[in-house]
């Protein structure tokens, strides 16, 4: 019975530590991570298991080291334009010597025979879903749709990146977080 109790205690602790670890890790990235503003390319409203969310899409094609194939682990770095917007820049096989990169995998390698160049589609975990309250989803959809189509420079997704991990900070509309913008 004593052995069973100890086993239960360890098992219970592991179960509780997993979400706690994820929370602390996410808090750390959101606090200390490098901030990038990404242009939103489009979105789809969805209604699945974890509640309503907006599925966000970005330009996920990057140049990269040669000989990368589907499923390869890569380190993606960013480049900023004059307006302060970031883009996924390059997929490296080797880990960069700074902490402003995102670890991901190659979804689809592409090679253009006419130019002799290739690029890669990367997997964007943790950046493609914006979970939202069920009562606000409809209005948020409309705002995101209007701004993406008519004023793309006034809407962006802020992400935080630290040591390979990325977290979505928020969607900003005219520099105001989406949920606050909805209350205006």
């Amino acid at each position: 019975m004593k052995g069973k109790k100890i086993f239960f205690l360890i098992f219970g602790l592991v179960i509780l530590l997993v979400p706690i670890y994820v929370i602390m890790n996410s808090e750390s990235i959101l606090e200390k991570g490098h901030r990038h503003k990404l242009h939103l390319q489009g979105f789809d409203p969805f209604d699945p298991f974890r509640g309503k969310y907006l599925r966000l899409s970005y330009d996920d094609n990057v140049d990269g080291d040669e000989a990368l194939k589907e499923g390869d682990k890569v380190y993606v770095t960013f480049v900023k334009d004059s307006l302060g917007f970031s883009q996924f820049d390059f997929a490296h096989k080797e880990k960069p010597d700074h902490d402003d990169y995102m670890t991901t995998t190659i979804v689809e390698p592409r090679f253009f025979w006419d130019t002799g160049e290739g690029n890669f589609t990367i997997k964007l975990d943790n950046l493609t879903k914006y979970f939202i309250n069920e009562n606000k989803a409809k209005e948020a959809e409309k705002i995101v749709m209007d701004y993406t189509r008519e004023r793309p420079n006034d809407i962006y997704v802020a992400i935080r990146v630290l040591d390979g991990e990325a977290r979505l900070e928020d969607i900003f509309v005219e520099e105001i977080p989406l949920l606050e913008f909805l209350e205006k």
Binding site: F8, V18, P19, I23, E27, R50, K52, Y130, I132, R167
Partner: protein, 445 residues
């Protein structure tokens, strides 16, 4: 008949002197046991359904997305489902350790709440993450539940979730049969499946050939999942693997489930009977015969990878091993069906005939079809005779439909003159009438 009515009836038979007192007592004890065990099953199922629906409700609450609360509060809230479920699990483990109902319901609730906690953190921190990683983490945290409380009901969710790692990428085609590429992560499925197999082995009653509800339930889950998983993992040798699995199921089922009364209580044998009902009949047709054996074509040997060779020969070794075990057991006097033991020999013979035709252009398929048709007919008649002897009406029906199925197919595809076909099928019809006539005395009264 209602059990109470039956008990009163038995008492009245005893009073009238028709039924001896000892016999009445024994029957009443048996009925009481069987009512209690069915009642226990009802309690377990209602407990598990309670856990499932309560969990569904909690998932729905999470889905609302309570964004009025600050992020930190929501983060802290995410461990509450696991915490509450852990409390119930603790109660089940230490306060109701003898109660199967508590153990099953609390384990299932904890399993689902682990998923709910991870989902809530993901929602709070906008992490859609990789679905497969989420499942991996969830399954790893679920494994101890199989052993800590010996819970089996969780397998109902655990096994389908682990099948995510088997999902093949299908190359659909309109003009030729579609093909598929096996999932490169399928080893994860096997890693997650092994704990279920160990749990199943621990649940089995090793001293008897009769198993309870728990083993039957796990038996069905395993006997459905295993063939599908093997089919989606191996790249060659499908026929040898299929026969190997079938022989394994048959011998395993006979060994551990042989004395279970109902056919539903013998999951492994039931699947073998279904497979024998459906599969061999396909091989009696030219098109399917060629198409299925083509996948095993030795002409492709030179382009096969080491992995493909390994799969092919492992399938053959499994089939041979199981056949030898079956034959040895039969020699020792085990009650095994000759027709099932004959299956590997039959398919090796059919494959030999296919090879003669494919590689040496020596067409002997007529002989293969001839043998196979007689095999199926013999198997069907044997099922009817055996069913009659053991008073198993269901088995008799099986034999009857198997024969009828074979003959119906032959009626449409047999390329012989109509007058001969007519006489042949009148004879077959008369044979069924004869069976009916011979069985009349036994069943009509």
């Amino acid at each position: 008949m209602n059990t109470n009515v039956l008990l009163n009836h038995l008492d009245s038979l005893e009073l009238k002197g028709i039924l001896p007192k000892v016999a009445n007592q024994k029957i009443q004890e048996f009925l009481d046991y069987s009512t209690k065990s069915t009642g226990r099953l009802f309690l377990i199922m209602s407990g598990m359904l309670g856990a499932i629906f309560a969990s569904a409700g909690i998932f729905a609450l999470i889905s609302h997305n309570w964004d009025d609360f600050p992020k930190h509060f929501k983060g802290a809230l995410s461990i509450v489902p696991s915490l509450v479920a852990l409390y119930f699990y603790y109660v089940a483990l230490f306060k109701h350790s003898k109660s199967v109902v508590w153990s099953e319901a609390a384990s299932l609730f904890l399993m689902l709440m682990i998923g709910a906690s991870i989902a809530l953190v993901a929602q709070t921190y906008q992490m859609n993450g990789d679905f497969r990683n989420f499942i991996k983490l969830w399954l790893v945290l679920t494994i101890p539940l199989f052993y800590l409380s010996r819970a089996s009901g969780i397998a109902l969710f655990y096994i389908p979730l682990s099948c995510v790692f088997l999902e093949p990428s299908i190359n659909w085609s309109w003009f030729v049969p579609s093909s598929f590429d096996v999932n490169s992560s399928n080893y994860l499925f096997w890693l997650f499946f092994i704990p279920v197999l160990i749990h199943f082995y621990l649940v089995l009653n090793k001293t008897s050939r009769k198993q309870g509800f728990r083993a039957i339930f796990l038996g069905y889950l395993i006997s459905i999942t295993l063939p599908v998983a093997i089919f989606l993992t191996v790249q060659t040798g499908y026929i040898w693997w299929s026969i190997g699995i079938m022989m394994t199921f048959y011998l395993f089922g006979k060994h551990f489930f042989g004395e279970n009364i109902s056919h539903l209580g013998r999951p492994f044998q039931t699947w073998v009977l279904w497979a024998l009902y459906i599969v061999p009949i396909y091989f009696t047709h030219d098109f399917f015969f060629d198409m299925i054996f083509k996948y095993e074509g030795i002409r492709d040997f030179d382009v096969w990878t080491a992995k493909q060779f390994f799969h092919y020969f492992t399938g053959i070794i499994l089939m041979i091993t199981m056949t030898i075990i079956g034959l040895l057991q039969k020699r020792k006097g085990a009650e095994l069906n000759r027709y099932v033991l004959f299956i590997p020999f039959l398919f090796v013979f059919l494959y030999f005939i296919y090879c003669l035709n494919e590689y040496l252009h020596f067409n002997m398929r007529w002989l293969g079809f001839f043998v196979l048709n007689f095999y199926i007919l013999g198997f069907a008649i044997n099922a009817m005779i055996h069913g009659n002897k053991s008073k198993s009406i269901l088995y008799m029906f099986y034999g009857l439909f198997l024969a009828a199925n074979l003959l119906a197919v032959r009626y449409f595809d047999m390329d012989i003159s109509f007058w001969f076909k007519g006489i042949l099928f009148i004879g077959v019809g008369c044979l069924f009438f004869l069976i009916n006539y011979l069985s009349t005395d036994e069943f009509e009264n």
